[in-house]
């Protein structure tokens, strides 16, 4: 991977890309007018005002709480399911298409079911966010566990490791890179799920604010929310991508 051996230039290029995108945004905003698309300067100053606003902070806090809970569930449940299903070749063969099918369905259609089962509260939003993340985490973990060379298990047996020690010293280190990739995608999709959950049938959080901004044609708020979400998601994702790359590089 020589392409990633010079992270400083990569970072510089990313900044250039952001600058170009911002200029395009400013140009487009100037073209269509501020009622349709708020320009970068006005959006950022509005976001700055919002960030010190108490109501807005409450919305961020609300979303952060639901998202953190959903992410904890998605990661842990996804890991456990993936490990269990990946442990046996047959079970993996049987369950992989089922998981792929679950991954592909538009989960928003299941939201009414979740609302009916959990009620109109925090738990429904958490559950909805979690189901977005569980499946990809499970799929990646399963693939990682199934990809462990059989020799490793023979070594574990010859060293008379128990199941717990095998999991700790053999399985986990061997499939960590694959798992981290899964956790990364699980993070993105759980955030998406949490926000969609707030957009439909919720009175709180950033998702709800988004819908309200759409209904009242508040373009400025909409763009401020978009910038905030893109910034947070990209920052978190970049950190995890860094860990991901380091782990993959270590293995190869």
């Amino acid at each position: 991977m020589t392409a990633h051996s010079r992270p400083s230039t990569g970072r510089f290029d990313t900044l250039v890309l952001v600058a170009v995108a911002t200029l395009l945004w400013a140009g487009l905003a100037a073209l269509v007018g501020p009622k349709v698309l708020t320009g970068p300067v006005e959006t950022l100053t509005h976001l700055g005002r919002l960030l010190v606003d108490g109501d807005f902070q409450a919305s961020i806090w609300e979303t952060a709480r639901a998202f953190t809970l959903a992410l904890a569930i998605a990661w842990s449940v996804g890991l456990v399911i993936g490990m269990l299903l990946g442990a046996s070749r047959m079970v993996g063969e049987v369950s992989e298409p089922i998981l792929t099918a679950l991954y592909s369905i538009p989960k928003i259609t299941l939201y009414p079911v979740i609302l009916l089962l959990f009620g109109l509260g925090l738990s429904a939003r958490v559950a909805f966010g979690a189901i977005h993340g569980i499946v990809p985490v499970a799929l990646f973990t399963m693939a990682a566990v199934r990809g462990i060379p059989p020799t490793y298990f023979r070594v574990a047996r010859s060293m008379r490791l128990g199941p717990a020690a095998t999991a700790r010293h053999i399985i986990l280190p061997a499939c960590l890179p694959g798992i981290v990739s899964g956790l990364r995608i699980g993070f993105s999709l759980t955030l998406l799920g949490t926000l969609i959950g707030e957009m439909f049938a919720s009175q709180r959080g950033l998702g709800h604010l988004t819908i309200k901004a759409m209904e009242t044609d508040d373009t400025r708020l909409l763009m401020a929310l978009a910038v905030l979400l893109v910034a947070v998601a990209t920052a978190a994702s970049a950190i995890m991508l860094g860990i991901d790359r380091r782990l993959h590089a270590r293995r190869s």
């Binding site: 392409a3 290029d13 349709v36 009414p112 089962l117 998406l192 373009t219 909409l222 978009a226």
Partner: protein, 249 residues
């Protein structure tokens, strides 16, 4: 039927039977969840009555349009990223975090740009789906073994010939994965958009049935949608598996 497929059928059948039993025995109240057999009845009734046929066709048409545009647009973007590795490196953090940003945010902007019709929804789904195709395309191109490219050079193939005769065939499995993902994400984008924002289509009808407490209609529509999506996905998935098996040979 292979052995895994046989077990899979049993697993699904048992799960459905358990669900049916749980509903019939009253472990789950009928207001929340109706037995699968009644969902099937409701779906059959919906299809036979033709009441929702227009919505179903509208949804599938929108998905098809968005998927086709996503595949073409994503392929073009993937090609550009492949040609300019520096651009790809610069864009990597954004490509990786892409799916956390709900593209519905740009719906109002698209309405102003395209008017109050189905095109804003196509645009939302396109924005959601084309990145998957772009990532698969560039991954596929980068996976082409250098020896093939060297062979192409030694035969003095032009850039276009190399792309058409060497790179495209070698990257075909990846491209197919991209097409599959583009279709899946187009479905997710369109249905979610209809659900939250639109006034027609299957997604809208499901949300409407939920809000007006028509549980049977809601589950019937849901079943129609989910069965179609899963069927399409499974066909693509088995074809994809055969293509990838060819890769590792």
């Amino acid at each position: 039927m292979s052995r895994p497929a046989f077990y899979r059928t049993i697993v699904i059948a048992v799960a459905l039977a358990l669900l049916e039993a749980a509903c019939r025995l009253g472990w789950i109240d009928r207001f929340s969840l109706i037995p699968p057999s009644e969902m099937l009845q409701s779906a059959a009734h919906i299809l036979a009555s033709g009441e929702y046929t227009r919505d179903i066709l509208v949804t599938f048409g929108t998905v098809a349009g968005a998927a086709i545009l996503s595949v073409m647009g994503g392929f073009a973007v993937g090609l550009i990223l492949y040609r300019w590795p520096r651009l790809k490196r610069a864009a990597d953090p954004f490509l990786a975090s892409y799916y956390a940003v709900p593209s519905f945010i740009f719906y109002p902007l698209f309405i102003v740009m395209f008017g109050l019709n189905r095109w804003p929804l196509v645009a939302v789904a396109f924005v959601f789906a084309f990145v998957a195709m772009a990532i698969s395309t560039v991954d596929g191109f980068l996976s082409v073994r250098p020896i093939l490219l060297r062979a192409a050079r030694s035969m003095r193939l032009t850039r276009t010939q190399t792309l058409r005769l060497v790179i495209l065939p070698a990257a075909a499995p990846y491209l197919f994965t991209g097409v599959k993902l583009a279709i899946v994400y187009a479905f997710i984008g369109v249905v979610a958009g209809e659900f939250i924002l639109s006034g027609s289509g299957l997604g809208y009808r499901i949300a409407f049935a939920y809000q007006s407490f028509e549980t049977a209609t809601m589950y019937g529509l849901m079943l129609i949608l989910l069965v179609s999506v899963v069927t399409i996905n499974m066909m693509l998935w088995s074809r994809e598996r055969r293509l990838h098996a060819r890769l590792s040979r």
